[in-house]
């Protein structure tokens, strides 16, 4: 049974990506709804179904939750048609989370591709709120083109901050005349930057193909499998470990995931 939530604000991130700022209709749920960085929720557009996205706002932000989605399928199209003040349903939070407690006193490397920035942003903002507890922070974010970059406002803020290193890249062909960031696919950019692998935790999120090519690069740079955290995306319906859709090997992504370390993923059959 989903909770109903009101769309408080709509932010157009890119031509096909939108962010909703949501607040539960029920004040009590608002207080009770707690989640951790990396968890996801089931958002429903009544009449068209439910869809799974991560929660994109930081858990330290208590007044609202945010979700970002790219228009792809039926539900996201339907969500996109909604206006400010409309109601959607939320179930959750589901899944596991990034063990931020274990990251303390370590360097952090965030790698995100496309809409994969959404879960990363959640952790990233969470980390920034607790900035003192971590060492060097680097973020590499790639998108198909300049217009596909989302959270542009926030990226600007990240860029001016001295205590984080921000690398933004777009795929070749996606740059504009005034583009001042990197050009190239994420794995290539990663190789070029070659961040320090000692005592560093990687948080990796993006489309399956990017993850596939980035993981070997990370290994090549000397990152430990246990230190690479990524999220797996699978089609999910129930979020409760019942419907069998997100089953990979003996793992239910919606329950045991979506956050896995590379070491865990290596044990799974390659079906993602």
């Amino acid at each position: 049974m989903p909770h109903t939530a009101e769309i408080k604000e709509i932010i157009d991130e890119s031509p096909d990506t939108r962010t909703f700022r949501l607040r539960f209709r029920d004040a009590e749920t608002n207080d009770r709804f707690k989640f951790k960085a990396g968890q996801f929720a089931e958002y429903s557009a009544f009449g068209d179904g439910e869809s799974t996205f991560c929660i994109a706002s930081s858990p330290t932000q208590r007044n609202f939750i945010e979700c970002s989605f790219k228009v792809y399928g039926k539900v996201t199209q339907s969500l996109r048609r909604l206006n400010k003040g409309d109601t959607i349903g939320i179930r959750g939070p589901y899944g596991n989370w990034f063990p931020l407690e274990d990251f303390k006193e370590k360097n952090l490397l965030f790698i995100a591709g496309g809409i994969g920035i959404a879960p990363v942003r959640c952790v990233f903002n969470n980390v920034l709120d607790l900035r003192d507890e971590f060492k060097n922070i680097t973020i590499i974010y790639g998108a198909r083109s300049v217009s596909d970059l989302i959270y542009k406002q926030e990226i600007k803020e990240w860029k001016v901050r001295k205590d984080i290193k921000t690398v933004i890249t777009v795929d070749p062909g996606g740059e504009t005349a005034i583009w001042d960031g990197e050009v190239g696919f994420v794995p290539a950019v990663l190789e070029k930057i070659a961040p320090e692998s000692e005592n560093t935790v990687v948080i990796l999120c993006g489309p399956p193909v990017m993850i596939k090519f980035t993981l070997p690069v990370l290994t090549g740079l000397g990152f430990k499998d246990e230190e690479i955290y990524t999220t797996l995306e699978n089609r999910m319906k129930c979020g409760l470990g019942k419907c069998g859709r997100c089953n990979i090997g003996n793992v239910y992504v919606c329950k045991d995931g979506p956050v896995f370390t590379y070491a865990e993923i290596k044990k799974l059959p390659r079906e993602f």
Binding site: D48, G49, E50, G89, G241, N250, P269
Partner: protein, 343 residues
Amino acid sequence: MDEKIISRVDLMKICKDVIDKGNTLLTPGAADYYVVKDISDIILDTSALPSKISHKSYVFPRTEPVLYYKRSKNDVQLIDINIDSKKIVILGAKPCDANSINIMKHLFNWDHSDEFFNKRANNFMVIGLMCSHFDEYCFCTSVRSSPVSEKGSDLFLIPVDINNYALKIITEKGKEFISPYSGYLKPGDEKNSKLITENVRQPEAAFDSSEVYEWLGENFESPKWEGVGNLCLSCAQCAFVCSVCHCFDITDEDYSYTEGRRMKNWDGCQFGNFTLHASGHNPRDIQSKRYRQRVNHKFRYYVDRFGEILCTGCGRCSRGCPVSIDIKEIVSNCNDNQKEFLK
């Protein structure tokens, strides 16, 4: 364990009482488990093959609403579903079918308990019946069961002669059920029924499930999958007739302009869009991967997770498969790893 003798006539009297009290009485027919309206319909045949479709739909319906919604301008009203499931008595469940609810229970109760399933499952009363016939597709003995297995039954019937059954009381639930009818019961002799069950012809064990478990772990990329994948036509007949397959889909349907329902429907892992992402990426994009998933889920993943094989050995999937893909054949030939003729 308690054993009693009950005559067929008295058993029918109990059945009549069950129906008169407004409960549902199910019994297997050739095609499906059907609701008995008149006790003269009851056959209680130990030599029948499993019905074409299992009784799964009575505990896990092929489609059911989980939520109703009504949209207004800015708001949505939701109505939750309350299931008031009637008591369902299955008379003469095949030993293979009797165990299916127990197997599914693990999944529907880990981490989050599914009230839809539980409410129905708790209202189930399973009266098993010994099975004395098998065909080339039966393989209950290979999956830790047998034609005389009492697993999953609350009461178990063994025909001792034409008119009498030995009635074994297995669970508390069964005891409770039968206690109002204790007048019909005569004391029984365990030796007698034991003799019968020991002499029942049983299908030879076609494979060793632990060997299959090992093999599946090592042979994720076996040419065998490609062979089966080429043959399989991607319908979900196997999953839908299976008594333990439990995957489902959730969709919204509007039935008027403002009102609608959220439905939970059966879904099958053999369908191409089962795992298709909205982005177009499909982790199991070809049929061989999907078939591999099916076998692995049944004989490996479920065992890993819940310690039970997700299969009762009823052979329905193989019997009904449009292209005669036989799951027993696939797993029992697993060790020789031959790809011969499976292409």
